[in-house]
Structures are given as C-alpha cells and as structure tokens.
C-alpha cells in the first residue's frame, strides 16, 4: 500500500480544507469514497480489469495538488486559440479542474440549460445535482473512482431540461497547467432529461512541460428518448498520465454516441461503462488510438444490456508505432430478458513495428436466447501487397504507409456525427501521421 499511503495521509490531514473549497453535494459522498479507497487501494495488475496498466506505479511519484484552490494565473482565451474552425461551438475552458468563468462566451443557452462549474451549480441547485452526483460512479467497485471521489473538488456540469435541443455543440477544453509535477482530479456530470439533445466535445491538453496525472470521472444520465454525443480528444504529451472513468446510464429510446480519440499522450487508461437500462436504447461506442514512442493506451469498456431491443455498436481501432503499447478489453453482457439485443463489437489494430505491442480481449456474455451478437478482433501489419501496388504507381513507401494508416482509422473518424469536427479530425489525423502535429494543431500553447 505504499502508493496509497501518501494519499491516505494527505486526505486525513487535509479533509477539512478539501471540503471547505468544494460544495456540500460533492462532500457528501466523500467519506464513503475515502473508506472505499482505503479498503480497495489502487487496482493491481492481478485484477483482470487492470491487467495492462500498473496503476500503483503511476500514482507513486510525488505530485502537487491544489487543494487550497489557489488561482492559477492563465487566461486560456489568450493562450488558447485552438477552436475547431467552421464549427461554431460554445467554447468553455477548465484550467486543471476549475471551470474558467472570468470570461465566458456570449452564447445564448436555451432556457433551463445549466452549464458551468460543478461546484457552483451544486451550491445553486443542491437538490438537482445531489440527485445525480456520484450516483453512477460506484466508489465501492473501482479504486480509481473512489480516489477521484475522495479528492474531487470541482469540475463541469451540463444539464439539459426536458425536450430541449441544443443546436450548438458545447466544447470544453481541459488545460493542464502547472509549474511543478501536478495532479488534477476532475468531475464531469451530464444530465439529459426526456427528449433532450446535446453534443459535447471535450479536449484534453497539457500546457506545460511538467509531469501531470489527471483522474477524471464522467457521469452521463440519458433519460428517455434523449440524444447525446460525447467526443473526447486527448492531445497531451508523454509526461501525462490520464485516468478517465466514464459511466453512462441510458433509459428507453435514448441514443448515445461516445467517441474517444487519443492523438498524443503519455499513459492513458480509459474505462467506459454503459448501462442500457431502458428498452430500445442505442449506444455507439468508438475509439481511435494513434500512438508511437513509448505511449501507452488502455481502453476498457463494458456494455450492460439490461433491457430488450437495445443496440450496441462498438468499434475501436489502434495504430501503434515505435514501442507503443495498446490494450483493449471490451465486455458485452446481455442479461436474461434482454431479448432482441443487437450487439456488435470490433477491435482492429495495426502494429507498424515489431516492438509495438497490442493486447486485445473481446468478451461476450449472453444470457438471453433471442439476440444477435458478434465480436471480432485482429492485430496485423500494413498490407505489403497494397504498399507495393502503390509504390508501383509512383507513391513513395512513406506516403503509401501514411495512406494505409490513414485509411485504417478513417472508419472511426467517419462515425463522428458533426461534419465540421469530422473534417477537422481528418486533418488532425493526417498531420499526426505525418509527424506535423506535435501536440495540438493551431493552438498558441504549442508554439
């Protein structure tokens, strides 16, 4: 328990300070979360779920935390010009875990939509936020979630009332900013009431060349017939460790698209758990990883078909170069009574070198008898015949490899339901493969 001990001590000493700078709603589950963390500790590689990521080791180094909520001097609107062009998004920032509210975009939000700092909205609407906060992210089941719930003080919240359609996508840019090695524990809470529709794009950036460790817990409540898209884009650097646990609960007729894209990172572990709780719900869960050098990306997904007539489509694609390591473990559970389930899981991976490693573990558990389920996983190299064919037509080997890698991940980019973002991603992916994308495209941070 060496890695855990420093955090147990820290919480014991600083509990009052942590609570003081947070809100009652966030403080309520804290004691239980801490008890769970003490009991569970960090997950170890002996646990099937964390086989490919050594969590304790990643938490071992000494990171600074901003428990006292000191203002970190940065104006993201000045340093960060990285909008997705031609896509009029309502653009918001989080600096570490704090919602940046000094200057907000002049966006007219539809009536009743709540958007902003989780802490502030918890103070203003304690009853509403209290109904949802920490209700999906079970601290007794996952040490990282317990850890995050113990230390999280703020984050972002989006609430869309019944029947409200948000035309404009919301873009949230997380900026990691610090002068010393630094830890951030951030929460995101999304609630879509019946028939509500929204799209959220979350971009992760690391601004400084120090080591960062971020934990993030996202909870999404998609009520009946709601439609929600969540795009997550990580463009950090090799000194960044990211743990993101995403919990989604879908009621009848809801339609959710989750697309997680890792363009640049250090070590990343994304856990996604989707519960299809109501009849006829649909989840499209996609992921794309482009990794090289010593980057590591571990995606763990769990789709729980609890109700009948639900659809789940899962597609993950990895391109690993140099000594990069990728892992994908995806479980689909079709419970008794979840008849007429239509579930499809695909994981395809390219290893461009002999040193790149991919671990893939598709799992399907079915307890209903009238279902349509399939899954498939492949790990391979670039097609030599295709490469030579292109060379014969005068395309250089380097360019031919790029075209093939680009074609390989395009399928994931094409699943994006926002045209401007799709075009942007095509460009970003191309630049990433060409090595022209050092961290992120077009933002002043990466000068």
């Amino acid at each position: 328990m060496r890695a855990e001990q420093q955090y147990i001590d820290l919480f014991s000493q600083c509990e009052a300070m942590i609570c003081k700078h947070s809100a009652e709603v966030l403080n309520t589950p804290r004691a239980q979360a801490f008890a769970d963390f003490e009991k569970l500790g960090f997950p170890t590689r002996k646990q099937e779920k964390y086989k490919y990521t050594d969590v304790s080791k990643l938490f071992e180094p000494d990171y600074g935390l901003n428990l006292n909520r000191l203002d970190i001097p940065v104006n993201p609107y000045e340093v960060f010009k990285c909008d997705v062009p031609n896509m009029s998004t309502a653009l918001y920032f989080m600096v570490n875990d704090a919602f940046y509210r000094k200057a907000l975009p002049k966006t007219q939000l539809p009536d009743g939509v709540l958007l902003g700092s989780l802490k502030e909205l918890s103070e203003q609407y304690p009853e509403l936020v209290g109904r949802y906060y920490a209700k999906l992210a079970d601290t007794s089941k996952d040490g990282v979630t317990a850890f995050n719930t113990t230390f999280a003080q703020d984050g972002f919240m989006l609430y869309v009332p019944k029947g409200v359609v948000m035309d404009k996508p919301v873009q949230l840019v997380n900026i990691l900013r610090a002068d010393v090695n630094f830890m951030v524990n951030r929460r995101i809470l999304v609630v879509l009431e019946e028939g509500a529709q929204a799209r959220l794009l979350v971009c992760d950036h690391a601004m400084d060349h120090v080591n960062f460790l971020s934990t993030q817990v996202i909870e999404v409540f998609a009520k009946e017939n709601s439609v929600f898209d969540l795009y997550e884009l990580e463009e950090t650097h090799t000194g960044t460790v990211r743990f993101s646990n995403l919990y989604v609960n879908q009621e009848a007729g809801s339609n959710v698209l989750l697309n997680g894209m890792t363009l640049h990172n250090g070590t990343t572990r994304n856990t996604t758990e989707v519960t299809l709780a109501g009849r006829g719900a649909e989840i499209n869960l996609c992921g794309m990883v482009i990794a090289d050098k010593n980057e590591q990306v571990d995606n763990h997904t769990f789709i729980d078909h609890k109700a009948s007539d639900c659809v789940s489509n899962e597609l993950f694609k990895y391109v690993l170069d140099d000594q990069a390591v990728g892992a994908f473990a995806g479980k689909v559970l079709v419970r008794e009574g979840a008849q007429h389930t239509n579930s499809q899981q695909t994981n395809r991976n390219l290893c461009a070198t002999r040193e790149a490693h991919m671990y893939t573990q598709p799992q399907l558990e079915i307890y209903a008898d009238d279902v349509k389920c399939s899954h498939g996983a492949t790990v391979g190299q670039l097609d030599e015949n295709a490469l030579f064919y292109m060379q014969q037509r005068g395309i250089s080997l380097k360019e031919a490899r790029l075209l093939l890698m680009f074609a390989f991940v395009n399928e994931v980019v094409d699943s994006i339901r926002l045209d401007a973002l799709k075009d942007r991603l095509h460009l970003l992916v191309e630049k990433r493969f060409r090595g022209e994308l050092n961290k992120c495209q077009g933002c002043a941070i990466c000068k």
């Binding site: 097609d383 015949n385 295709a386 030579f388 064919y389 292109m390 060379q391 014969q392 037509r393 005068g394 395309i395 250089s396 080997l397 360019e399 075209l403 093939l404 680009f406 074609a407 390989f408 395009n410 399928e411």
Partner: protein, 250 residues
C-alpha cells in the same frame, strides 16, 4: 528503351529466372508467352522492383539508366508501368486520393507543380473515358468490391493517368469476358504512341488479336527459348508448347 542482359532472379532462394536476354525498342510491342510456372510473372515483378524477388545476376537498363538501382516508385516515375495480374484491393483509400498521390508524386519527380483539384478531376474524367470506367468506381476505394473485369479496366485507367513509356500487361486478359477484353485492349491501343512500348504477357492468342505484337517470345524454365514474329503466337495456339519442349530435347 529496355535492355535486359543475363538476368537471374530468385525467390526464397529458389532461382526462377535463369539468364534472360531481351531488348525492346521504342514503339515496339513484345508478347511473352509460355507455359505456367515458366517465370513470366516473375520477370514483370523483377522489372518493377517487387521486394519479394532477389536479382542475383545480370543487368537491366531502361532509357539509359540502371533500372535495378532505382526504387519501385522511381521506376514508376521513369515511365515503367505494370498492369497487375491480381490488382490489390485497398479498403479505405479512395481512387481519387490514390491517383492524386500517384500523379502528383510523378509530377514532383519531373519538377512540375502539383495539379489543382479541378485540373486533377478534369484529368480523371478524360482518362476514365478511355476504358469506359464508371464514375461510381472512381469514387470508391481502390479495387474494393470491383469485379474481375472492372479491376483490369481500372489498371488501364491508371495507365492512362500515368502515361508510361513502357507498360507491362501481366495476363491482363485473364478473367475477362469478350466485351471487357475488347474494351481493355482498345484502351491499350488508344494509349499507344510511336514513343511508347509494351510487353504483353499472356497465355492466349486471343488478346494478341486486339493488341498486335511485333515480336513474340517464348519463356520456358526461366529462359527465353524462342523468339519470332506474330505468327509464333498463332502456331502456339494451334500446337501448344510440346513441340518447343521437343526442340529443346525434352
């Protein structure tokens, strides 16, 4: 244009070409025939630089340059084109992106600027007409889901786009029905100029009714064992290869 001298090549240590000598002049059409396994496709693969084959001896000069010293892409840029016996499917890479990359890399090699999007599309339209290639195919991924005939037509379309000096047609007639054969052959003939040459590798006389060869060679056991005029192809069609084997004392 092309001089092959004493060319030996092997794959996985097994020698397939055992001393090929062949000379092709500007404007000539040469047919290479021969029984299965004689080395016809190996010869075409070696000429375009397929890395699966190893050249163990001999030389190839193309337009005065040492062809074997060039990378596959530079051989293409110098004007060498292979119509593949089995064109490769490349899912996810559109014909448009594929051809644009090919055309612009060739232009770059020649010191020309890249074509603009509209210039390029105009060129595509023009050349598509040569082999009556459907616009729908041009918008799909390279060869993906194409029928056998469409794939071969697509090869000739690419040939039209790249305007090679020397084209090698490797069993372009295999898997084609009569109509497709005619379209493909007419496409090749339309592209023929006094400045360009062609090597036609085939089993059958049929294709040579459309693409008239000046010289016919018989390749057997890795060597060219007979060279004559177009009448040789007709004779082979009628008599098979046994009489040649007999002449060789087998």
């Amino acid at each position: 244009m092309l001089q092959i001298k004493d060319l030996h090549a092997s794959i996985n240590g097994k020698e397939i070409l055992k001393g090929i000598n062949l000379s092709i002049k500007k404007g000539e059409v040469h047919a290479i025939m021969g029984p299965n396994g004689s080395g016809k496709s190996t010869l075409s693969s070696v000429l375009v630089g397929n890395p699966a084959f190893e050249v163990t001896k001999g030389s190839v000069t193309f337009e005065g340059k040492d062809l074997l010293a060039l990378s596959p892409e530079d051989r293409s840029h110098e004007g060498l084109f292979l119509s593949f016996q089995y064109p490769v499917e490349i899912p996810g890479v559109s014909m448009v992106n594929f051809m644009r990359a090919a055309v612009n890399e060739q232009r770059k090699y020649k010191g020309l600027t890249a074509l603009t999007a509209s210039e390029f599309l105009k060129l595509m339209r023009e050349k598509r007409a040569v082999v009556e290639l459907d616009n729908k195919l041009a918008n799909r991924s390279v060869n993906e889901g194409f029928s056998g005939g469409e794939k071969k037509r697509n090869e000739i379309f690419q040939m039209a786009m790249l305007e090679p000096k020397l084209s090698i047609l490797d069993e372009t007639d295999s898997g084609l029905d009569i109509d497709a054969l005619r379209i493909v052959a007419e496409g090749v003939n339309k592209l023929k100029t006094p400045e360009t040459s062609c090597i036609v590798i085939t089993h059958y006389q049929r294709l040579l009714d459309y693409i008239k060869p000046d010289i016919v060679h018989v390749l057997y056991k890795g060597r060219i064992v007979k060279t004559a005029g177009p009448e040789l192809a007709l004779e082979l069609e009628e008599r098979g290869y046994d009489w040649i084997k007999a002449e060789l004392g087998e």
